[in-house]
Symmetry: C2
Amino acid sequence: MALDFLKVKQADAVVVRAPELRQQVIEILRAVKVQQRDAEVTADILLESDLRGVDSHGSGNVVGYATRIQKGLTKAQGNVRILQESPSSALLTNDWGLGFVGAHTAMTIAMEKASQTGMGAVTVRDGTHIGMLTYYPLMCVKRDMIGLAMTNGAPCARPAGGAKAMMGTNPIAFGAPAGEEPPFLYDAATSVVAMGKIAIARRLGVPLPPGWAADREGDWVKEPPAGRGDNWSLAPLGGDRIRGAHKGYGLSVMVDILCGVLSGGGYSALCREGDNHTFMLAMDIGKFREIDEFKSMMDAMIRALHATPAEPGTDKVLVAGDPEHEIYKERSANGIPLHKSIVASMRSKAAELGVPALI
Amino acid sequence: MALDFLKVKQADAVVVRAPELRQQVIEILRAVKVQQRDAEVTADILLESDLRGVDSHGSGNVVGYATRIQKGLTKAQGNVRILQESPSSALLTNDWGLGFVGAHTAMTIAMEKASQTGMGAVTVRDGTHIGMLTYYPLMCVKRDMIGLAMTNGAPCARPAGGAKAMMGTNPIAFGAPAGEEPPFLYDAATSVVAMGKIAIARRLGVPLPPGWAADREGDWVKEPPAGRGDNWSLAPLGGDRIRGAHKGYGLSVMVDILCGVLSGGGYSALCREGDNHTFMLAMDIGKFREIDEFKSMMDAMIRALHATPAEPGTDKVLVAGDPEHEIYKERSANGIPLHKSIVASMRSKAAELGVPALI
């Protein structure tokens, strides 16, 4: 969910339509030798992010992915394959190709296993960025399943009481379908904020609020840093000891265990910038109880939460996925407002690669 | 992990030995018609809590459990049984008996399924209090598995932006074995603190820190309330909007979905005080990768975290389970310091039920 002060200002926005933006992403990826199917999977995930208003994980990032492929940091065609499996579990290698491909394959396998046994869990090593994490539980939601997704990455967040980054933002996403209400779709870093928020603040030229990032002496950082560094780190969710910094820290290590240690790819401190190991879990709701009864109870719960009296200063109590659902409807109808610097960078990359500018 | 100001003062402590305390719990439960095996399971879980220093969930609570049974709020002998199952999943009813029994059965079934298929998940409806949540992933850790446990309960925590309690403290516990290091054992409410912490603060006569609990106007509550009430509620982990209150809130609803909606027992707002529906997940590590390699990497990760430079004001960076592991060693050797009011209440209940006072 975008905080108001991180939203793209109307004067800085270029409105593009989803089909053209998707095709632009595909063309750029094809030009650096990504296979058609893998380019389509990647474009679908990036577009879903743009449509849902998760601007930090949108199509503009294709420029960076393409550049990584050009530099040899990411393989254009990784050999995604199963290294070990059982009826409800699998270990995959993403073989250092585009992370989207391994992650999408992993959740697809998890859902197949869940449809057979009730549960499926797949851990993926040797991965790179997998985009907006919500996408993967959303795959489950569309098949009447519950989905859980996690990913680790290079250090940028410090442990509770620590003065140095040791974990990635290590986010958790979770989705469950409802009946008449939009699905419950949770997606959050286990640090106070995601790195993408720091990058957006830097692009917009706004200072960081206290509580987000600290230097080695523990003082809050105001000027948004340009990237990971030894001299600053994000705080874990909870903030300080008395308000539960150890809770955010512990959740972050849980993510590291399921993504990095269980896969063997490595916990955050072993990840280079751009590495992401991943954990995907699918649960077939119908194996536990009748799906329509589940959905009715989800509707009732969501409505009860919406009806909670609001605190002074809050209009309405929301449920995870609400803001993105609203933005999705709006942007599907009217187009996606991209920051002009993102459009410029995509056009420039397209020109460099000799593919047409479609946006 | 106990905050210093919530620890029992030495002058108020009565030191008891684990075997006598365990037997006292069993005698009290037997006197209210709990079966021997169920009384033993319950006593083991309560004792583990005392030994690990989780005083809010220790043996003293048997007095309340026995009283609930006497009042007919909890059945002495619930008929715990499977309502639906598949190779990796099951739905259980605890039939409103002692929650420990259904939860212990659930994790046992989850581990059996995991040893067959890689994964096992069991959701339990119609439950009551299940004690220290760590116990259940610890069952997994002892079998070289990863364990995850959650439970919901009657409302005491408010949604982000809400002015009324809608969720329980809805905790998450997670455990994974290491090699030479103690296991990683995480256990935390998705609210800023657990209700037990409020009760301890009240017993010790210390004020609540700002950020823990708020009244309907959103002002912080200082005087620890005696129990759940309409006029106050716990804050979700994260605290306020800018520092991620929506993240703690969302995790809490995730717990509600897996425990209350998936089981059909009901989300928090449908729970009466004392109701707890439960979700247990076990993963067989050996199905993903070689167990010794997993444990070696866990050791390396834990040592790297311990070696993190500490913030000014912090002695050493800890890992989830460290403080409890230290207390476990100390109390196993030297006995358990119970607050004198807890000893008095257990002795009084024993006398009322005509069983010998063993502590």
